[in-house]
Symmetry: C2
Subunit: 321 residues, 2 copies
DNA sequence: GCCCTTTTTTAAAGCGGTTTCAGAAAAGCA
DNA sequence: TGCTTTTCTGAAACCGCTTTAAAAAAGGGC
C-alpha cells in the first residue's frame, strides 16, 4: 500500500513535510515541495480519508435527511450540495420514505462520527428524539420549530403568499381563487393570509370549492377542466406551486383561453418551469435558505462561516397576470 | 472524549476485551462481557467509525451514482438501499445531473477509500475514465457494457418487450402501436423487437406516428387525446413505461372509452401505479437486479456474497388488455 | 500432581495520517 | 559581528480502534 511514509521515504523527507505539502502549509522549501509533489503524482497517491478523518476528528460529510425527493426539497438539496462542495464538504442524502428506522440510520451515523452534521428537511421520529442527537453534532431544519438546540431556516409563508395576493389585487382582480397543497406546514399560514386578505378588501370568495392537496402538473390540468365548466368563474387563480400553475396554464391555453385576459394565473416557487412558461410567481429563495443552513452548521462546527442571508420572498412579475 | 480505552479502564479490562465484546467475538468471560456492556450503556458509548474504518480498511459505504432520481432508477436505488442495509452497508447517493465534475467527486471518494465500491446507473464521463477507477475498488453498472473490469447487471429489453407484444397478439390485437421513451439505451432494442414482431406476423404498422420521448403521465394523457381524434385507430398501445400507460388509461376512461374493449393498453415496469390501475404490464425485476449488483460488489470486496438471481421479465396480465 | 488442551486475557503493534515541539539553518538588523 | 527573528525540518506522540502473539488461567485425563 502506498501511504504517506512511502512518499516520505522516496522523497527523502519526513512524513511531516509530506503532510505539510499536502495541506498547503507554509514553511516548506520549494525544491522539496516539488520533489514531494512529483513523487505523489508518480505513485498516484491520495491520502486515505479514514486516516485523515480520524486524526482531524471530522469526516467533512454532512447528511441531508429528506422524506422523499420532492419538488420542494429538490432545489434546496441541490443548492446545499453546491455550497457544501465549495467548502470541501460532501453530502450524504438520506431518502427515508418517512420511516423512523431509516431516519435513525442517519442519526446514528452522526453519533458514531461518520457525519459531522445533519440537515433534517422532514422528520419521521418525534422532535425530542431528534433533539437528543444534537449532543453528537449540529442539526438544522427548515421546518417551523423553536428549539435552542435545533436552529431552523424556516420561512413564514404568510408573507410570501400575501405578496402574491396583493399583486393580484393591484392588477384589478377581485374574484381570486386559491389552490392549496395541504401536505406540509404551509397551508394553514396560506389560508390565514387569504382570509386576512379577503377581509381587508371585503372580497367575496364564496362559491369557490376548497381545493386542497394539489401539487402536480396533472392536478393543474384537472383544475383547468374544472374552470372551463364553471359559469361564475374566478378571474384569478393563485396556485400552491409552479407545477400546478404550469399544468393549469398550458391546459387552459390548449382550450383557447386567453391568459391573463380571461383568467390570471399565479404560481409559487419560481422554478425552471415558471421561467419557461413566463408565469408570474413568488420567488422562494431556496438557494439562500440552503446556504444559510450550511452556514449555521459551519458555525456550529467551529468553522469560519459566511454571513447569513436575509430570506425574503420576491414577486416575479411575468406574463400570466 | 469517551473512547475504548476509557471503557476498558472503567470495566477493569483491556481494550482488546472491550473490542471483542463490541464485535461479538468468542472467548470473553460472560461476567466481564456484562460489565463491559453496562459501562458502554452507561457512558452512551459508540465506536468512532473513522477509527474502525481505518483499522479495518473499509468504510462500509457504497456509492450509487445516478444522473437524477428518475422513475426507472428509483425502485433500483430503494432495493439497493435495503439489501445494503441488511449487510451492514450504508449507501451514499450521488445525483450528478449528468455533470462530469459531480460524477468525479464520487470516483475520487472511491480512490481515497471513503467509499468501498460504486454503482453507476448513469454516467457522464467516458467509460475509459470510469474504468480507470476500478483499480481503487469495484464498480458495477446496469448499462449495457462489456468490460471485464466493470460488471453489469444489464437486462436485454428485447426479450421483455417481445413478451408484451406476443401477449397482445395472442389476445387478438393486430393494430398495435408503440410508444418509445428514446432517452436511454432501451429504445433501439425495443424498436428491433417491434420490427421483428411485425415481420413475423406480417402486421401492418403503417399510419402510426413515431412516438418518441414519451415518459411521463402527462405524455400518456397527450397520447390519449391524439387517439380520440384518429379515424383509423390502433386497437392496442404498448407503452414505454407504466407512467405513460397510466396517463393514457385514465385520460381515455375519462373520455368514456372502454378498455380493453375499444383499445388495449400495456405498460412496462410493473410499478405501484400499474398495480393500482389494474394495468397489464411487463414486470421488470429491479429488486433482483439491485440485489445482484450488491452481490457482485460484495464478492469483489472479498466478502461472502449471496447467489445471483436469474433476471427474467415476466408478463403481468391484468385488466387493460 | 503432572501434562496437555482449551478458554480467557492483555500488551503491543499497527492502520495512515496530523501536529507539536524542539532544534537547525537562514535571514534580518543594529 | 552578535543577537533576534523567521524559515525549515524531522522525531515522536497521538487519533481510536483491531488483531496478533503470547501469557495466564482453567479444565480434563491419567
Amino acid at each position: 500500500m502506498t501511504n504517506i511514509r512511502e512518499i516520505a521515504r522516496l522523497a527523502g523527507v519526513s512524513t511531516a513535510t509530506v503532510s505539510r505539502v499536502i495541506n498547503d502549509h507554509p514553511y516548506v522549501n520549494e525544491e522539496k515541495r516539488q520533489k514531494v509533489l512529483e513523487i505523489i503524482r508518480r505513485l498516484d497517491y491520495v491520502p486515505n480519508s479514514s486516516a485523515t478523518s480520524l486524526k482531524k476528528g471530522m469526516t467533512r460529510i454532512v447528511g441531508v435527511v429528506s422524506g422523499a425527493y420532492t419538488t420542494s426539497s429538490t432545489p434546496f438539496i441541490q443548492a446545499f450540495n453546491i455550497i457544501a462542495q465549495q467548502h470541501g464538504f460532501h453530502v450524504m442524502l438520506f431518502l427515508t420514505d418517512n420511516d423512523c428506522g431509516k431516519e435513525l440510520v442517519a442519526l446514528e451515523m452522526l453519533r458514531s462520527k461518520q457525519l459531522d452534521a445533519l440537515v433534517c428537511l422532514h422528520r419521521a421520529n418525534e422532535w425530542p428524539i431528534i433533539e437528543s442527537y444534537t449532543k453528537y453534532g449540529p442539526i438544522v431544519t427548515w421546518q417551523r420549530l423553536v428549539s435552542e438546540h435545533i436552529p431552523s431556516v424556516f420561512m413564514d409563508q404568510y408573507q410570501g403568499y400575501m405578496l402574491g395576493l396583493e399583486h393580484l389585487y393591484a392588477r384589478g382582480y377581485r374574484r381570486i381563487m386559491n389552490v392549496y397543497s395541504s401536505k406540509g406546514l404551509n397551508t394553514p399560514q396560506r389560508m390565514r393570509a387569504y382570509d386576512d386578505f379577503s377581509k381587508k378588501y371585503r372580497l367575496d370568495d364564496s362559491g369557490f370549492p376548497d381545493l386542497h392537496g394539489k401539487v402536480s402538473i396533472t392536478d393543474g390540468e384537472h383544475i383547468a377542466r374544472w374552470w372551463l365548466e364553471q359559469t361564475d368563474k374566478p378571474d384569478a387563480i393563485a396556485c400552491s406551486n409552479d407545477d400546478v400553475a404550469a399544468g393549469l396554464l398550458t391546459e387552459l391555453k390548449r382550450a383557447g383561453v386567453s391568459i391573463p385576459g380571461e383568467v390570471a394565473i399565479m404560481g409559487f416557487d419560481n422554478n425552471n418551469l415558471a421561467r419557461l412558461l413566463d408565469l408570474t410567481t413568488v420567488h422562494y429563495p431556496s438557494d439562500q435558505q440552503a446556504e444559510n443552513a450550511f452556514a449555521i452548521l459551519l458555525d456550529r462546527l467551529g468553522q469560519q462561516a459566511p454571513p447569513l442571508h436575509t430570506l425574503e420572498f420576491e414577486l416575479i412579475e411575468r406574463a400570466s397576470t
